[in-house]
Symmetry: C2
Subunit: 223 residues, 2 copies
DNA sequence: AGGTTATTTATACACTTGCACAACAAGGCC
DNA sequence: GGCCTTGTTGTGCAAGTGTATAAATAACCT
């Protein structure tokens, strides 16, 4: 119970620190993603987001024109991070195309890309992409970038195997491999505990190699 | 402009018809799915749903304890319909296992299963499955039922090909094929206009046959 | 140190939301 | 027909929403 000699003023205004604009915007975007992942789009209110970011709700309007723009920027940041992580697995200079492809599949089917929180965000935003052109565009850009990466690696792999696929064949392979990775990614995110560690990656590599008509290699089997 | 001799009473209460309980509940569930697909979970308010169902908002509480239960029943109905449609493609008595598998893939990669509205619903609800155990359970049941169907057909196909896979091998095939279908389904729903008719099904069949190590058949190529 | 700026808080407001409840009427039963 | 059940409407309400804006104050400049 408060003492009569309580030294604190009764209506003390909250202490705060001024952060740089970049930092605050990033914090708010992160808080937005956290809130959406945990409570969904309906539960991600400005007050919830502000609470998680450690500020008050009014501040959001100082950095974003409105809630919609905040959500769009958050989704753009999410998509960018996802594709960036995925493509990072491809930068292995001193590796054969096949090794790079296998590493790509493995990276996409393990943490941190297999992640329930990211999946929740992905699904939540994508559910609104049908009605929100801005979200649809953000997704489309990320998806096409991803598929182009796949197609490039596939072309290298087939070239190394003395295959010379035409454009249509290459495209079909890229679409199928993209589907394999996406589908396994979803299964892993939604029911990760149903698979032993590395199992999804092993399934994915075998499926991709079968799609490309490659004989299995030993070195990328589950160790 | 209303005439001074307007015969209608000014505060006329709305005319209505009494529908059977089954019909009303189904109409409300359908209106809920429509609203969620079009406006998302946040936009699917009781008033929006009631408007689309042709009733007033208060009536919803006469059939459902609250909004949450309505949403859960709607999602359950959606999942049930999806898996039912998918499995319906498998009931071809006088067909070889391989034909049935190909027909299954084809059915899942064309309308009405490839559908932007259904995808929007699927993603929207699944985004909340991470936080809502009831939704997670509804999804899990549908998914496992689907995968078991796949596994059964795969077993028949391999048996017809004189293969005798062990349980682990069979499970891996089912997981991979399920991923292929899911991944292509998503691509088709999100960017259907990027694919020519039948293209996704052709890609899917080829990928599935490659996964199972089957030599391609002519009769299920794109015609 | 003192003045200035613009970041941050706090409050207010119009509006929507899910839910509760009383009034009403549609359709079956006698 | 008249009554009775209950499906259905309309209204009200408290809580919560996004947005607007004034007041406060942390940090920078000289």
């Amino acid at each position: 119970m408060p003492d009569a000699t309580d030294p604190a003023p009764m209506n003390a205004r909250r202490k705060f620190r001024r952060e740089g604009e970049g930092r605050r915007r990033q914090d708010l975007i992160e808080a937005t993603l956290d809130s959406v992942a945990e409570y969904g789009l309906q539960g991600a209110t400005l007050r919830t987001i502000a609470l998680r970011a450690g500020v008050t709700a009014g501040l959001i309007r100082h950095y974003f024109p409105g809630k919609e723009e905040l959500l769009q920027e958050a989704y753009t940041a999410l998509v960018g991070r996802m594709t960036e992580q995925a493509k990072a697995a491809l930068v292995m200079d001193d590796a054969s195309p096949r090794q790079r492809l296998a590493a790509f599949v493995t990276a996409n089917l393990n943490a941190p890309i297999i992640d329930a929180r990211v999946f929740s965000l992905w699904a939540t935003f994508l559910g609104r992409a049908g009605a929100d052109p801005a979200l649809a565009r953000a997704h489309r850009d990320g998806y096409l970038g991803f598929r182009n990466e796949v197609e490039a690696v596939v072309a290298e792999v087939l070239a190394a195997e003395q295959h010379k696929p035409d454009a249509g064949e290459l495209r079909h392979h890229a679409i199928a491999i993209n589907a394999i990775i996406d589908g396994l990614w979803i299964e892993g995110c939604l029911a990760g505990e149903m698979f032993s560690p590395g199992e999804l990656a092993a399934i994915g590599i075998k499926a991709v190699e079968a799609e490309l008509g490659l004989a299995p290699l030993k070195q990328f089997q589950e160790k």
